[in-house]
Point group: C2
Chain length 342, copies 2
DNA sequence: CTGTTAGCGCTTTCAT
DNA sequence: ATGAAAGCGCTAACAG
């Protein structure tokens, strides 16, 4: 119906209302310092509504030196957890009057966080939500120089990090299987260059020791193939664990496949727990127990932290603990040794 | 290291090079109409490089009336296909000098395509890639009024649509199972409100009839639960099909779960084919055959089509046919009747 | 070959 | 209670 056309400008609706465009600006922005004659106010509002006026975000941002936009850089993974983190971030940002743009970083071509500075330098956004960074070497202590927050990862400096309680998740897992008599447990996870994996691994070591549990850790590819390969190797060794936690949903498929192929029954011979929750786990051959993490809360908290930085409010690291639950399904049972000991 | 600071402006580097900022602009933009003294050129380039000059995209866009950005609106689904479409789009956009922002539309709160006009009206982007629209009622023939292209869906008007060859995928599926003797086939898919589903369904009806195949279509929720429920109902009816195509990866899990629960063996009693390919399918209890669609090509073609519209080049609907392959796995076998007839 | 000028659409201080 | 004017950082005629 309507042809392709430039939207109405402030001056257009000023002309329609018979006032100066600065007056329109004040009225539309609800400037509290000024008062307007009610009838002028009405004329302006009517004119604006009639043409469906939308302020030019560019011009406004140029003038104000604030874009009102934030960029969320996420790794381009098949893993569905990010879509939940995004949901939380999107919703909170909308509540706080910000606009979120998603940038996906190709997994094959990861870039250092500093790469994304250009978005701020070019004034496309006010701040960066970084979910993509691999774990930083300790010596990379340079300031990024632009407002940013690491999401689900810790960057090189404190005060910029919003993460979940991975240690708590590991504890939930270990307590669950230890309570069922498992004394030898494996953790199959991605590379520890991912900060979440690093933290899970550290926690697993510490907590296993405290509980007198023997722990075997395998780092492998973030894929079905990775899970398969790690599991196959694990089974080839002597002294095979009786329970294993798996860091990533894609790996879970590989782990289950390898166990099946090797004739290791789940859960009779091996209990399996996923650190990613997904609905599909409930429908597998043997439904898989998982730990459900506070993903939406992570996204929302990250937005809050970033806005704090943009507005130069003092900020500290944030640890999201809740809600975190173990979703019990059929892939966990008592340890074989305990059983036969009955 | 560097403190948070405003980036250098054109005037700053003009000052550093001792020239007027318009000269800097010309040089940095490689204006071919003008010539510059090599030494001036060098001085300018050096100054710009030294401060890592980044043009303010806002100011530039405001002046040029072009932002160089496009928005990709995608449904917020767990389905990993979108990440491949995105990859194709991102790469092509980068090649063509555009910047892509992703907006995810909450599945619970779908909005009409016209909703996203505001992004163009506010001049946040030059065009819209719409992957989210449900199938439009025929009477919604309004022009959107801004450059846009529907991706993997057809909008109400021709010339704006980039889709894949769903009919070809259905034909591949039907030919595959018909060749193995299946005469009664089911299609379990999402709601036909989605244009891809609508086209698959239409094609399935037409092609089944042409081949003398009995077709049963079930539309259900886009989820594991949907697949489960549709399959359960399907099995309750008399005259159960011997092969089924499943529209969506999440549904596949539900379908397999329901078949297992009902004691229907795959592939002996029921052959299963997924219309979404994903690595996890290869690792399931019974590895699932799938049709691999040209997703990255879809994303790239959509970007090309949108840029054509932004630049007001004549454009037509695009149908992406290739590469499309059937990935054979273990979930398809000869029809039971044919077997026993051996 | 390079500088001057105007202006993209908006906000904001200062007048009136 | 409203208008005038300046300016955000950049590009693109047009001068010279």
């Amino acid at each position: 119906m309507t042809a392709q056309q430039r939207g109405a400008r402030l001056v257009d609706i000023a002309a329609a209302a018979g006032v100066h465009h600065s007056t329109v600006s004040r009225v539309l922005n609800g400037d509290p310092a000024q008062s307007v004659r009610p009838e002028t106010y009405e004329r302006i509002m009517r004119a604006a509504r009639q043409v469906g006026y939308r302020p030019n975000a560019l011009a406004r941002a140029l003038k104000r030196s604030r874009t009102g936009a934030i960029v969320f850089v996420i790794p381009m993974l098949r893993n569905p957890i990010w879509s939940i983190v995004q949901r939380g971030a999107l919703q909170r940002a909308a509540e706080r009057g910000y606009f979120v743009m998603m940038i996906e970083e190709p997994t094959e071509d990861p870039r250092p966080p500093a790469h994304y500075r250009y978005l701020i330098d070019e004034m496309r956004a006010d701040g960066l939500l970084l979910a993509t960074a691999e774990r930083m070497p300790e010596h990379t202590r340079d300031e990024l120089g632009v407002p940013h927050v690491y999401v689900n990862r810790r960057g090189p400096r404190p005060g910029h990090n919003v993460v979940m309680d991975e240690a708590g998740a590991v504890r939930m897992f270990l307590d669950h299987v230890a309570g069922l008599g498992h004394r030898h447990v494996a953790l199959i996870d991605c590379s520890p260059i991912w900060d979440t994996v690093y933290r899970r691994t550290m926690a697993a070591r510490r907590l296993s020791t405290a509980r007198g549990i023997t722990l075997t850790v395998r780092h492998t590819l973030t894929s079905e193939e990775g899970g398969w390969e790690a599991t196959t190797k694990l089974l080839r060794g002597g002294n095979v664990p009786t329970a294993c936690g798996v860091g990533n949903l894609n790996q879970v498929f590989g782990v289950l496949g390898a166990l099946r192929e090797a004739g290791v029954r789940v859960p009779e011979d091996m209990s399996v727990v996923s650190f990613d929750e997904d609905a599909c786990l409930a429908y597998l051959d043997v439904p898989v127990t998982s730990i459900q993490m506070p993903l939406a809360e992570l996204g929302a908290a990250a937005v809050d932290a970033l806005i704090a930085r943009i507005e130069r409010t003092p900020a500290t690291d944030v640890l999201i603990r809740e809600p975190m639950t173990l979703v019990p399904r059929a892939s966990v049972a008592a340890a074989p040794a305990v059983r036969s000991g009955h």
